[in-house]
Symmetry: D2
Subunit: 418 residues, 4 copies
């Protein structure tokens, strides 16, 4: 086991740990540890809601999930010699649930969860069709996930960090706040909101002196979106063996990591769509001096996925176009066409006996592929979603004999949107 | 070789063939042939511009490409016993360039082309950055494509039909015309246009009696977009061995096929972004009686990709978010985030010596994957594009030693947007 | 289609073609054509028995298969500038059944065959357990093979040439004759024989002057085994996209090709175990000057398989050790342990209702993998055989519910060993 | 973490642990623990030489490796309700090096080793060409192995147990002793020996009463070979996610496991050819009642490999035939043809600057594939070995520019055969 440079005790809350992490992006949050290029080390990660979501059969916790407190990030970690303009090379050597703990109240202790967020508390990709809150608990057996709330499926996890990135410079942070503020201003009362402004009350700012928290918290960026620094990209393919290259914006790079997922489908469509968990990640870092200019990487991560992703040779795929459910034609809207492809998959799975929300939770959590198949054929973009057929206990393919009927079991817990 | 039920002579134009195909969707276009469930047969296909694009080093033909004449479809083919509400099962047994002809003036005779369309003639996914017309000619050697216009790469084709679908019913056609007309009406003079209305002058309507062409042509749908019937989905994964399920809207299903591609990247981003060619396709059809209701497939195709796609184990991937190049924050716009990911890939490849348009043409033509990685992390969606590293003759990975410099050669022919 | 440099008319026997091929290895057989490094060309190939095996339900033809006449090779082809000591680079650009002919009396016209040879006529890998002759006819639908003689399975072909190689020098030929003669001499009457000595009567020697046939035929090597020059290696992975490197032993390399297989399992265990067919192969050649010494390749081919092999993600595997069926312990005998693994697979498949010979024919023809898993654990080697589960129409996996029972249909035709 | 039912303390020798395992097969060795069908549990495993091999730069320890003491097995584990005739279903949920220990003197603490055994101490697959002892130490970084003794390569481990199996019945044990004794008797003084007879002095027999050790030790089977019960099969594909079915010969099945490998090539050709290590394995067991008869599995394991093996899309392969290095023709000897293929690979790698023993060690340890390509083409079988090209830091492919030259570094430690 590599040296643990950020350790978490499963019996303590995130804010009570020996070393305090953070839940906002800001250049003034000091590194909790510093590593050298070439170093290999382990980082513990807390699940993004710090234990608020329980391993039970109620969705009340999802309904009331404390979105102001996320994400509970480990870091920042400084890298000796890193300077703005460099590329930070991060190798994900290993990543998994909390080691040696396979039962307990904390997601990552042998289990994880997927949530569909209620429309009034964040919403989701299909929030108009699914305004209420739902939850699925997934149990881990080796690398395989199964759920009492979504029967009939079992799949190998594509374990990855949902969120990793470098600290923004002050100038970059200002740019974020300006552009996101401008967007919010176009419809400030929208539900769900268009974006999340800085919020000081629930900000956690690591080792920053206490007298600075109010000021910094009022300007620090929320961690929900991915941005130039990487961030909450939720790219399911950042699994073991992946090498990622991040732009460096501050001396030392100051990168952070968190929001581990045991698995996730492309898009993380239920919002809390991966299988959320705490755990560990083993990393190795390096620097390409001046790499941002040399390789033209001014923003966003580039990466090379690892070689040990679960392999599936058979898929069942659904397509969608950019026409709304109401029949309105939109112009080349890939977001919409992916929504329609997902809805088609849900309609299909419902014919096998799944409740629509069970199907939706499955698409959020399982290693499904979402592709931008056609983006130029005016006025309709075409998006596609691919489900590995091997994850089903039964034959999911269309045939003359009609769909097999599953027993949906106890179903997915639900809590009404308030 | 299965029986050819739609034969094309490479020496004749599409309209001069013994059997006339069509280039519009309309329920009244009569089948050119009828097959039974279980039948296996071959269909010849003409490239979508019917020979207007030449194997030369000028992009003048792309600049003036006759968009009103497309797509030159083979069919319709009736299926005995198919009725509205059924699912039409189509197996792609084989598909390839024009058999036994590997040189000649017609795309598909040993070569194909990729075009970036000029802004005033259709445009493309990145038309604001690339307003002019460009062309790349690809030579086929076995299943491998190479180009004198894009040096340093070679890749196995993921050969597929860009367009396949069933005939719309009159009611469905009316719905299309209404909703697309409504969209056009919001900005009728837009360049490029929002959508393409019916157009009778260049309509080709197969065996429809001549006195009906004016009326039918004035209401028949253009073939550019994918719609409920499948159509121009440009899904690169519909390659050999794929089984597709189409909704049936008229008696006999009346399905048509065309727009073959030797290869294509996800999105077909240069508009004419696959490697366009004529060729053949061997099909087998079957029916799932009442399958639309049984399986909840009311629209759009569902499919199971084949098992012989080219395999790549290493990829270099780029990510993008929904912030415009001008810095404006957009709300969860996956179309935009994919544009940004593509632009990042182009910026990167430019550092190796490629002209930006060469990189763009490559992304359109090569088997790159485009994924909707994050679609819920407000306000930024995250899209990713994956390039197989093995298609480059040199090491494309970032490293401390900096990018290898290619010789860009004669470059991609260009014609200025008029 | 590349230029055809060796053309075969399906209506004529191998010896009656315009250009005569050969069925023996000898340095004096003159090239039928000469190509340059970099050239791309097509070669037609006749199935190895020149039409003796029929598409019917009798195994009488397999029982009496004319082994003295094989293999009907296309070539030799000279390569300009190739000299002894070079490596001949051969790219398999494409390979398939007889183009544009999908029915007819010749294997390759839409069908192929697998035979279990009788013990008195060649035998097979499991000849003691299967002394009689059996046949299975396979029908090609696109790249998929199915058989009325082996129901319940369908698989994508891994199409390849069973035999390709360069001409031996006179010295190398003498070495072959010496060592194989020495082996035969140890048991000259063995049935099946240990090896096949030169045989002049049925030798076909291409363009060699008629007055030389008797002499050359009496010293030319039979084509059954693989040897230093490549030859009948029956490596199933030499499929489309493969690059092979052969040692060059004579000026011009003089390479030949034949024995095409639509598919084959590792080992080609039924002797005539691939799915035998005629067809075409498109090749490109090049030379690495002095490559034998530079790369230490003094004999046998080295190769890089292509990227479009059928992909299977689930396999059912069987293991065997080097103990005979009679219980005798042999010392690290991987040949025996593979026989035992194959017999275990046959025993297993028999429980699903297959006749043992049906199972045996399937293992010979389908894309099964045979691996040398353990070769040092005295006294038992361990070999394993892997069957892709997706090729079965039913669930082939072991479970508490017991094996599904197939209808074995008409079974595999049989002819008693005489 | 599942419950540990067999725990090992890294600071104690195998014989000093709280629970004692075994190193011989015998039906009277009592279970150390009993599990129920469906149970999930963890077993610690000690590396096969119990710490005798050091992480240093000398091969003296390999030269003198104590072969009489192996293998240090964990178990036996009884399964409630298992009876002779059943199939024991074993799911490998996870397997890896010693958790939370990445440095220390014991293989599995962040490192492992590969040894070429000296001819007088066990020998190896190519012992005539490599009579001396050699060693390579591999360091683990995440799932990747690298070695100071074999530079220029890095590969993902295909982690698996080399040895797992059920206890033999008394009758089966007697059969083993008889047949192996008969073999030994044919050449009792052979070096290396043909097989290993029972040996009581170094036998470790778990919880068997002390007064029984002499008798049982004198008849218990050595663990070197694979046999009807599974045993030391060294099948590299038994990695995470694999389901294995073992015949049951005694009440409770009494299965044992050990000999973990971080990686291994097909054949484990250097004898101690995998990357040897201690570690843990998480298992789940089940029973198919009467499965041996139902599925025709009278002996040897059948299995379904997992879905997370490292993926490689490009390979460089070598072939060999059954002619000895001295030029003697052998009859269809796949063991020999695989030796020749391995030697060809070694010859090739030597041209890049590797010492032959470095190449040999690499073939033993890396995830190379060994296939029985042709087994019927008299008199030559054809075996092939496939090396993933991506594991090399440099371009390993043949080309006109000749082989890249590596720096072989300090080389592999050697100790002369005594």
């Amino acid at each position: 086991m590599p040296e643990v440079i950020f350790r978490l005790d499963s019996n303590k809350k995130f804010k009570d740990q020996e070393t305090l992490g953070h839940n906002r992006w800001h250049p003034e949050i000091p590194p909790v540890a510093t590593v050298k290029p070439g170093d290999v080390f382990r980082v513990d990660c807390r699940e993004w809601f710090d234990g608020a979501i329980k391993n039970d059969d109620s969705a009340q916790d999802i309904l009331q999930a404390p979105l102001l407190t996320v994400h509970t990030l480990s870091g920042p970690f400084g890298v000796e010699g890193a300077r703005p303009g460099d590329l930070l090379v991060v190798d994900i050597l290993d990543v998994g649930p909390i080691p040696q703990e396979d039962s307990g109240p904390l997601a990552g202790q042998g289990w994880g969860y997927t949530g569909i967020f209620a429309k009034n508390n964040g919403g989701s990709f299909l929030t108009d069709q699914f305004p209420d809150a739902y939850k699925a608990i997934w149990d881990f057996t080796g690398q395989v996930a199964t759920s009492r709330h979504v029967p009939g499926v079992a799949f190998e996890g594509l374990i990855h960090p949902g969120l990793m990135g470098t600290a923004p410079s002050a100038a970059l942070l200002a740019k974020w706040n300006k552009r996101e503020g401008d967007l919010i201003a176009t419809d400030p009362l929208r539900v769900p909101p268009l974006a999340l402004p800085p919020e000081a009350e629930h900000a956690v700012l690591g080792g920053l002196p206490a007298d600075q928290w109010a000021r910094v918290g009022s300007e620090a960026a929320r961690t929900a979106p991915p941005r130039e620094n990487g961030g909450n990209q939720d790219i399911k393919n950042l699994s073991k063996g992946t090498r990622i290259f991040y732009p460096v914006f501050v001396d030392g790079a100051n990168f952070s990591v968190g929001d581990l997922h045991f698995s996730q489908g492309d898009g993380e469509i239920t919002f809390c769509g991966g299988i959320e968990m705490g755990g560990f990640i083993d990393l190795r870092v390096d620097i390409i001096r001046g790499g941002m200019e040399t390789y033209g990487v001014s923003e966003n991560a580039i990466f090379m996925p690892g070689r040990v992703e679960p392999q599936f040779s058979e898929w069942l795929a659904f397509s969608g176009t950019s026409v709304t459910l109401d029949g309105e034609q939109r112009y080349l809207d890939s977001h919409l066409s992916y929504q329609r492809a997902c809805l088609h998959a849900i309609d299909y799975l419902a014919k096998f006996g799944y409740a629509p929300e069970q199907a939706y939770l499955l698409l959020g959590a399982a290693p499904v592929e979402g592709r931008l198949s056609g983006v130029v054929d005016i006025p309709n973009s075409c998006s596609t979603i691919y489900l590995p057929t091997a994850m089903f206990d039964f034959d999911i393919r269309p045939s003359a004999s009609g769909p097999h009927q599953i027993d949906p079991g106890i179903g997915a817990p639900r809590a009404d949107n308030a």
